[in-house]
Structures are given as C-alpha cells and as structure tokens.
C-alpha cells in the first residue's frame, strides 16, 4: 500500500523542485557576499561583522553606491566550521550570484572557502583569518586585507616580547590552522630572539585549564602567549589568576577580540587586570580621519563606542570592494582581480596596497598595523609599537 503512492510522492517532489528553479530575479543592486561565523563559538565575530556591514554599506551607498547601483551585502553564516563555510560560500556564489565575497575570521574556514573561490572563480577578500597559507597558496582570486600570522608575529608579538625584555615565554595554542600556525611562527621567532620557551596545545572549547596552568606555572614564564580564540580564553585568564600564574606572568591574548567582548570582565573578574592583547584599534591611536569618522558613526548607530576591532576590519573591506568594482567598471571576476591588484585606497587602518609577487604570504596581502594593548584598571593602554604607546607595561 505504501509503495503504491511512492511514485506520486516522488513526482510531486520533482515537480516542486523544477518550479523552484526559475527564480532569477532582475538585478537592481550589486550583490557582494560576506562570510563569517554568526553562530558557534566565534559567533561574536559575526555580530561585529554585522555592525561593520551596516556602517560600510551606508557609507558606500551614501557616496553613490557601485556602478550607479546600490551595494547590497548578503551575509552568510559560516558557524566557524569549515564545512559550513565552504557550502555557505558556494551558496553565495550559486544562489545569490554575488560578484565578490568578503570576510571570514576563522582560518580553517577561510582555507576551505578559498578552494571554492578558486573553483568558481570569484574574488574573495579575506578580512580577519590570519593563517599564512590563505595567501601563500597563491590563488589568483584570493586577497587578504588584514593581518596574517607571520606579519603579526614578526612585526608585533616577537618584537614586543623582546622590547619588554621577557626571558621566559610559554606558548599555548588551540588546535586550529590559526593557533598551530601562529604557534610555530612564534617558536621560530622566539628561538631567533634567544627567548627561552615551552609550548603546548589546547582545545578551543576546553573549560578547565587547571592542569595545563599548573604545568605552565611549573615552567615559571614571564609571558604566556595565549593563542586561544573565543570564550576559552576567558576561562584561561580567570583560572590563571586563581592558580596564581598571574600576575607574576603576563598573558598576551594573541587574537584580541575575546579580551574586548562584552562579558570579558564578568567572566574573568579582577584577574583580567594587566592582561595584554593584540588589536588594530584604539581610540587614541587613530591613524586616519576615516577611523575617527568610523568611531563616531558607530557611536551614533549603536549607542556605544566600538570595541571589537573586527567590525572596522569588515568596514574597510567593503570600501575596498566598492572601490575595486567602481574602478573595474564591471563585475567581471578577472577585471575585479586586476582592479584589486592596483588598489591604493585610504581606509581606517591606513592605505591598502596588495602585494603582487607570487610565491609567499605577501601575495595579494595587505597587512594593517597592529597594536599590543594592556588592560590597566579597565583602561586600554597601548604598549607597542613604541611610537603609538600610551603607557608602559604594568606588572
């Protein structure tokens, strides 16, 4: 009896599918996709992205949009998971027919996405995924307007460790493309600088770090380079205080945003004091007029000053994309790549210029300047680089 209807059912399914096909609307806007984690453990970054997207589209459309049309951003949640990232990216390209994709903050996701970008030949500007191979693979359609691991380590973290005269360091890294990659780079940089160190890996989702922290404490480091993203970092910092690893040792949050998330202080309590983190944004260190405009626009739109610098990073990338589309005069992928390669645009973090020499991380890479900031009595004090410093390291 059941199988008698099966033909009918399947026919209905097939029919409904065929009907669903004819859904190509006339384009009145130019669509650009943004990928980022809006759910999962890195979801806070997606929220920052959404804020940046709102400000970015308003900014671009207020200045006349792109190619005479309005710029429309389609956001796709990648949930911090590479598989969702790849399928989400593909969906943007095949379903939403976006001309370009921006975003991503999770390296492993970005590494999956660049394969799709390459397969479908869609320009992709990575914003906040730091793993070196993203650009080092040398894909024609892949750009990065944001930090890369090697840049952050060699320009900022290693130099800061040397400048502060730390003698012993401990590297804790989550097992992700970002964490493992930046840990390796840190090891070789510290070796070169003659700083003694030990290293271990941890899980991003891990909540109980007591055992690990006591192992670290036994090494008696001056500084702990913590490459843990998400709330895992909060547990790490709070428990480091409980086992009295800090304040003798200084913790550096090697990613940044988790130390700026709204609940940081609630989760870490007083143990958050003196913690250091990497960031590209500080109120008193605004390199361009646009950066100040951005802060004011953000304050106006959301009622608070911006905290997570990743909202500004995506804002910048929207400006870069709009600029490239306008200069290319078309949405053709190859023309867009040409235009992107010739980019010279002032954004909030400085002037964007992509490297064009193949064969390394520098290819299609623009590295914004990064800061090391310390929480001193809940005030952000810039420690590094020296020309931007607003104070000294407190211990």
């Amino acid at each position: 009896m059941k199988r008698k209807k099966s033909g009918l059912w399947l026919f209905a399914v097939v029919l409904s599918l065929v009907l669903a096909v004819g859904s190509a609307w006339a384009q009145e806007t130019i669509k650009v996709g943004v990928v980022g984690p809006r759910t999962g453990s890195a979801a806070a970054t997606g929220k920052a992205f959404e804020e940046g997207i709102k400000l970015g589209t308003d900014y671009v459309n207020a200045k006349g949009g792109v190619l005479g049309k309005k710029l429309e951003i389609v956001f796709e949640d990648t949930a911090g998971a590479p598989d969702k990232a790849a399928s989400g990216f593909e969906r943007l390209v095949t379903r939403d027919k976006v001309v370009m994709v921006l975003g991503e903050s999770v390296s492993s996701s970005a590494l999956a996405e660049i394969e799709v970008a390459d397969r479908f030949k869609v320009p992709f500007i990575v914003v906040e995924a730091w793993a070196d191979p993203i650009t080092a693979k040398g894909y024609k359609y892949v750009f990065r307007a944001g930090p890369c691991n090697s840049g952050v380590v060699s320009e900022t973290i290693a130099k800061w460790v040397v400048a502060e005269k730390f003698k012993r360091a401990f590297i804790v890294a989550e097992t992700s493309d970002w964490g493992l990659g930046i840990a390796e780079l840190s090891k070789s940089a510290l070796t070169k600088a003659g700083v003694q160190f030990e290293a271990m890996t941890t899980e991003r989702e891990s909540k109980d770090h007591y055992t690990e922290l006591n192992k670290i404490k036994a090494f008696d480091p001056d500084v702990v380079l913590a490459y843990i993203y998400g709330s895992g970092l909060h547990y790490f910092v709070a428990q480091a205080g409980e086992v009295k690893l800090t304040p003798k040792a200084i913790i550096l949050d090697g990613a940044g945003p988790p130390s700026l998330w709204p609940d940081f202080w609630k989760n870490v309590g007083d143990y958050g004091n003196l913690e250091c983190f990497v960031s590209s944004m500080h109120e008193k260190v605004e390199l361009t007029k646009l950066a100040t405009e951005y802060r004011e626009a953000y304050q106006k739109a959301f009622g608070t000053p911006p905290t997570d610098y990743k909202s500004r990073s995506i804002f910048d990338s929207i400006l870069i994309a709009a600029d490239a589309i306008n200069r290319a005069g078309s949405t053709d992928a190859d023309k867009l790549v040409d235009a992107l390669e010739k980019t010279s645009l002032l954004v909030t973090r400085g002037t964007v210029k992509f490297g064009t020499e193949k064969g390394g991380t520098e290819y299609h890479q623009w590295m914004p300047p990064m800061l090391v900031i310390q929480w001193q009595n809940k005030e952000q004090v810039v420690l590094y680089p020296p020309e931007a410093a607003t104070g000294k390291l407190m211990r």
Binding site: K2, G7, L10, L17, V21, A81, D83, R119, E203
Partner: protein, 317 residues
C-alpha cells in the same frame, strides 16, 4: 507489495530524477545532492529505529568513519577514492558489528548511551589527532571524478541512494525483515517465537552502519572537505529529525523526510541563525503530535475510509 512493483517505481523515480541535471542550476543540483546523502542516512537509520526499535546516536559517527577512512587513505596515501569508500564501508560495518556485539545484549537505553559515547569519543579522537585528521580544520580530499562536475556527483549520489534503498528493501521485505519488526513490536514475544533478538539487532546495526559508512564516504568526496561536522551530533539530529518527520518505520517516510527537509532548510536559511531553531521546533511538534510522521498522516487520510469498513468486519469476526 511485490518486488516487481518496487523496482518499477524505483527505476521510474530514478529515471525522472536523472533528468534533473538538465533543468537545474548548480545551486539546486547541490541541494539535491545533499538531499540524496540524507536519503541514504535517514533510510539506513530508519532500519534501526523504525524497524528494530533501537535508537542509535552513532549513525552520523559511522558516516564519519566512512568519510575519514576514505579521506585519509586518499589524501595521505594517494589511494583511489572509490576503493577508499569501499574500505570505509567495510570498516564501518566491522565497527558496527563489534559495537553491536558489545552492547546490544544490554538492550535499548544502553545502546543509545553507548552509541552516544562512541560518537563523542570519535569526535575527541578526530579533533585531537589533528596531525592525521586535521581535526576541526577540515581535511581536504580529492574528488571521485577527475574534473569537478555537479551532474557527475548527482549521478553518483543517485546511484548510492538507489543501492542503499535496494539493500534496505531486500532486507526489510524478507524473513529477516519480519523478524526485525517482531523485535521492534515486542522483544519478549519475538524471543518466545524463536527469534534470536540479539542477532537480529546486531545484524540490523551492522547493515545500517555499513550503509552510513558508504554514504559518508561518498559525501566526503563530494564536499572535498571532511570535518568533524560529518560525525557530529548536529548531523545526527538532522538525520533523526528527517526520519521522525518523514515517518519512522515506513519505507518511504525517511526518503520524503530527507528530501523535503533538506529543501525546507535551504529555504529557511534566509532567516539566518534561526533556521536550526525552526527546524527543531517543527521536528518537536511533528514528533509529539504525529508520531508516524508525514507518511503516517498521509496514510491516515488515504486509508481512513477503507480501514473503517475493515475494522467493522474485524470486530464481527
């Protein structure tokens, strides 16, 4: 009820479906390919839950075993992915057999909890052995066809789904299938009639694990990226919901459930972060108020009148 009718319907359906690549764009073809993966997963899970009354939470884990076995062999040792999928299927079957023997003696809830534990162990191992599996970073694997093509993958998945359904049909509509259903209805009564309950369960568990392994292997080589998402509890949730909403214990239910829910979830994705919530709520309502799923509802409507007359004659007899 006859074999012939099943095969006629199957081949007509497959024939119709194989025309899809002519009319569908890349995106919709992708949705169909994923649907076919879920058809395989939900149908083979249904063999367990619907036909022998065992709720396994490791079905996605077995898909993961298939995917990772084949993926690692292909990515690290350069083995032909087709052979990899085959080995993955066999390995899933063997692990299923071992686990079945280990815990099926203890019955219902133990199986559920052991499978839950197993999938958690698998997740931890995959995440931690990132030097081999690349953990949450995802393992990039070669494809089943040299030049990436959606229609080619569509036909491969269609073939996989067809194979799965034939195996399931042959099993369910045989003496063994009769025993499965007896076990699901009432273990003790089944045992009293000579049914070896443990053996039936182990058999169902092994076959269903093998089919999940195959589905996972094929799917991994379609995605070209294998992540712990394939063997995750979230994936398990999708498979379970599709089966429950489609209709547990009916042959067609999981097929309808898988295809319609995959399409549905693609549409509600527009609501962004709410889509899992919506999906879950629908599943909850259906599971609570229509325990036989869509198929149960459809059957109820279609059969209502006929059944009424029969029940009367039954009472008279």
């Amino acid at each position: 009820m006859t074999d012939r009718r099943f095969f006629v319907i199957l081949f007509v359906a497959v024939g119709l479906l194989s025309l899809l690549p002519l009319g569908l764009g890349v995106y919709h073809l992708h949705v169909m390919i994923v649907s076919l993966f879920y058809v395989m997963m939900a149908s083979s899970w249904n063999l367990l839950a619907g036909y022998t009354g065992q709720v396994s939470f490791a079905h996605a884990a077995f898909a993961g075993i298939g995917a990772y076995t084949s993926g690692i062999l292909a990515a690290k040792f350069g083995l032909n992915p087709w052979i990899g999928v085959f080995i993955g299927t066999i390995l899933a079957a063997l692990i299923g057999l071992g686990m079945g023997i280990l815990c099926l003696r203890m019955g219902g809830i133990y199986l559920s909890l052991t499978t839950l534990g197993f999938s958690e162990i698998l997740r931890i191992v995959i995440t931690n052995e990132y030097e081999i599996t690349r953990g949450t970073m995802g393992l990039q694997v070669p494809g089943l066809v040299a030049d990436y093509s959606k229609p080619a993958y569509f036909y491969i998945m269609l073939g996989g789904a067809m194979l799965t359904l034939i195996v399931l049909y042959k099993l369910i509509y045989s003496d063994i299938g009769l025993n499965f259903r007896a076990v699901q209805n009432d273990e003790r009564a089944a045992a009293s009639l000579g049914v070896d309950v443990v053996r039936m369960r182990v058999l169902a568990f092994t076959v269903s694990s093998a089919l999940a392994g195959m589905a996972g292997g094929l799917y991994g080589h379609y995605l070209l990226l294998i992540t712990p998402e394939i063997p995750s509890l979230d994936q398990q949730f999708l498979v379970l919901s599709m089966t429950v909403i489609g209709g547990m214990g009916s042959f067609l239910g999981p097929i309808i459930g898988a295809i319609s829910l995959e399409i549905f979830s693609e549409y509600i994705r527009a609501y962004g972060e709410y889509h899992v919530l919506v999906f879950g709520l629908v599943a909850l309502v259906v599971a609570r108020f229509a325990p036989n799923g869509l198929m149960g509802l459809a059957e109820h409507r279609l059969r209502g009148r006929r059944k009424a007359s029969r029940t009367v004659s039954a009472a008279a007899g």
